[in-house]
Symmetry: C2
Subunit: 470 residues, 2 copies
């Protein structure tokens, strides 16, 4: 008789599978205030590793970390008209502090363009101060009506980059570079996600931007998730906050700016891109635990061997965890590591000791076969890299095979039930976009026929990619 599955199968109810997994793999709990979440240690470990990898890339892109206050005077938000219109409905407002009503209410940052510009305008005097490249890791709040853990939460964690440049071209190129060399490279090389780069249509742009670049990921159910964002802000905030500089010819000009962000939503994306009916599958380069070495039974020699193997792998630079909790049933432990998506599981029992082998279960490529313990140090890194490459291939194949060219809105809606639809943007247009929106399908981004990012919305040959989205 087949056991009841640990998780709701994906094909039966994908959102429920996701929620089951968050609970069973101990990734996150809902917070007490609606829309907030508690990130549990295993979930936070994933985010922490993402932060490290991303932070290194951000620093290589020349940006320095800083920290701006979370509390922003309400009046700052109103200085950039589109910005306040976009964010006003999502703000959390502090009206009391230190036991008194505040003279001016302060908002909890939904993003930091306004407060950053207040200081950029003090710090930037002349062309010598440019470019100014800043990043911060922080929490932000956007009141969320339909929250879902990691994907849309009232409070979330993110990094937000803010830069100021002397010219339009420099800012444009920097935003594109961040999208390509930081975000796309990170998603590809670490998360094993083949994301689609594109530009947002005017209706989907960041409030206050002149252009928004996006990387869209295809989830396991064929829906889209915006993974990262990179904006050209033009001179909109610079004008609102008087962020100008002395040019080398002695004039004064407003700076050109960018901002760009990625959030804890990436943890949700990771789960939904790579997960299967048995749980998460974590790409080895990200995995906090790359291999778990398990003692099958409560046997002294076995436990000693498990610890020895663990130490050897650790010394070889592998992120390893030993599981000698022999008072917990083996099956339960194995299911738990599967749920958590640990790439390799090495099982060692009393009978293996004599043979000098263990049983290696592969979470990514599947299957289980014996392996000589003295081959581990040479084999494990190779297997991990194989799995990493396989996951990226699977992500790419899934995205490409489920993207379909369509000729009509009806066809687009039909395709969007299970994948992405594509048609010329000139043919769809803003009216088609609006009509699709009423049927739950959005234009995720605009792309050129060769897969590059178009330089403008109306560049010839521009295609619209449409999908249902999280």
């Amino acid at each position: 008789m087949a056991k009841a599955p640990v998780l709701t199968p994906q094909a039966e109810d994908f959102p429920r599978w996701y929620q089951d997994l968050l609970n069973k793999a101990e990734l996150a709990d809902n917070g007490p205030v609606r829309g907030t979440m508690v990130i549990r240690p295993y979930g936070f470990g994933l985010w922490e590793h993402m932060q490290q990898e991303m932070d290194a890339r951000i620093k290589r892109a020349g940006a320095q970390n800083a920290y701006f206050p979370m509390f922003i005077p309400q009046s700052y938000l109103t200085r950039e008209a589109e910005h306040v219109e976009g964010f006003a409905p999502e703000l959390a407002v502090v009206t009391h502090g230190g036991g008194k009503q505040l003279e001016e209410p302060v908002v909890v940052r939904p993003t930091s363009e306004t407060i950053v510009n207040e200081y950029f305008s003090k710090w930037i005097q002349s062309y010598r101060d440019l470019p100014l490249l800043i990043n911060q890791w922080a929490n932000v709040v956007r009141w969320e009506k339909r929250p879902r853990a990691f994907l849309r939460t009232t409070e979330f964690l993110w990094q937000e980059g803010h830069t100021a440049h002397a010219t339009y071209e420099e800012a444009r190129d920097y935003a594109a570079m961040i999208q390509r060399d930081v975000y796309q490279a990170f998603l590809r090389d670490v998360l094993a996600i083949s994301a689609l780069p594109g530009r947002k249509t005017p209706s989907e742009r960041f409030a206050g931007a002149i252009n928004t670049l996006t990387l869209e990921g295809m989830m396991g159910d064929g829906k889209a998730l915006q993974l990262t964002t990179s904006h050209e802000l033009g001179q909109n905030f610079a004008k609102a906050f008087h962020t100008d500089y002395l040019t080398d010819s002695g004039g004064r000009e407003h700076v050109w700016q960018t901002s760009w962000g990625s959030t804890t939503r990436l943890v949700g994306g990771l789960i939904m891109v790579h997960g299967d009916d048995n749980g998460m599958r974590v790409p080895p380069r990200l995995a906090p635990v790359q291999i778990v070495v398990m003692a099958v039974k409560d046997d002294e020699a076995t436990v000693a061997k498990v610890r020895e193997v663990g130490r050897e792998l650790e010394a070889a630079g592998v992120r390893v965890k030993t599981d000698d909790r022999v008072d917990v049933a083996f099956g339960r432990r194995a299911v738990d590591w599967e749920l958590k998506g640990v790439p390799l599981r090495l099982e060692i029992g009393p009978r293996d000791l004599a043979a000098g082998t263990g049983m290696l279960a592969r979470r990514i490529s599947g299957g289980k076969s014996p392996i000589a313990l003295d081959a581990l140090i040479s084999e494990v890194p190779k297997l991990l890299e194989e799995d990493q490459a396989l996951m990226l291939r699977q992500s790419e194949e899934n995205r490409l095979s489920r993207t379909t060219d369509v000729d009509s809105l009806d066809e687009a809606v039909e395709v969007a039930a299970h994948g992405w639809a594509r048609m010329p943007w000139a043919k769809l247009g803003v009216e088609g976009e609006a009509a699709l929106g009423e049927r739950g399908v959005t234009v995720r981004c605009l792309v050129a026929e060769d897969g590059s990012v178009p330089e403008s919305d109306d560049a010839p040959g521009t295609l619209a990619v449409m999908a249902r989205a999280y």
Copy 2:
């Protein structure tokens, strides 16, 4: 004629020296909402390095990182009577979210004991789930009436550890271990601060704790600054939040807990312990920049050499910055690196090239002498370690030489004008403590005669250390 000093001299006005330095070394600006601060890249770099060093020690202590929401229902705070009494006057309250008035106002966390316990009570079922050791890096808000950047700000960054244990002894020992092996070791080995470990008097305890351990640092003006804190919470929060567990004999018991924290205040402490009239002095192990290699003049061969030397030092694992901004006056650049406290400054000019030497200025030990460029790789790490050791010695000597045994309250007040006073706690007592408080002097902590931390307030031979404090 002597130039006007860049900073107000310490002896003239220490607080003003501190404020001057924050501005001139580009460490921090005041935020727009009273009591908040902007941490600029150089200041944030110091905090980032502290985080890395501390995080590694916290993980070695067995704690895992997680993240709890910043918004806490107001009702949570009221469950632990002393806790709410202590924090109510400092709370920031969100009354509106998403354009509507909230049904129950939420507070921005001043600390997370309450929300953490709400989840610990779900996660902890039996003795097998203990100990539970959690840490989080986060921002917190305590409305501040007399703010000063880094030292006391309405919003600050910190790590807060929260643990649950099966027994009183285990919790007590864990709090003491964090104080000793994480905080004291970090302060000594990285920040080169010789801090005094002790226990707080009942009136200075954390609201809701049964014991608070502290590490007190002596600043350059002889005042004290509490650098870290480590609390035994007993079962106070466990009872308020029903955090109990099934014992191995089948009964139910409340858990015993600890919490412990360190904040961006450490950046302020670092500045005030080690700084001098020329600016900061940053201990080499912490320094984001350990050596700056400067081109003295705009000369092609010089600039090329500076970059070459920079690359060589970097390849040798030294944190190096090359300064070839030859369009800025040399003197101005040198003063700037001095202000920022970079331990070593290597100046290379056209005349040095032929001799194969540079001029090495030492910020920590003082002095300036020529050094052969081909000796840098072997010499620089040695000099940095020498400077690190010197700073710790200076910090210890300063603290010891300015701590004086006294016999009366008058004498204590007199000594506290320039250092710390010490007398038997049994002689001072809570009444003496209150009387001192009215004269601006507080009991910083209680210590045993041998320098260890007393096991209780009334342990025989316990001494009170008194000072003015930031």
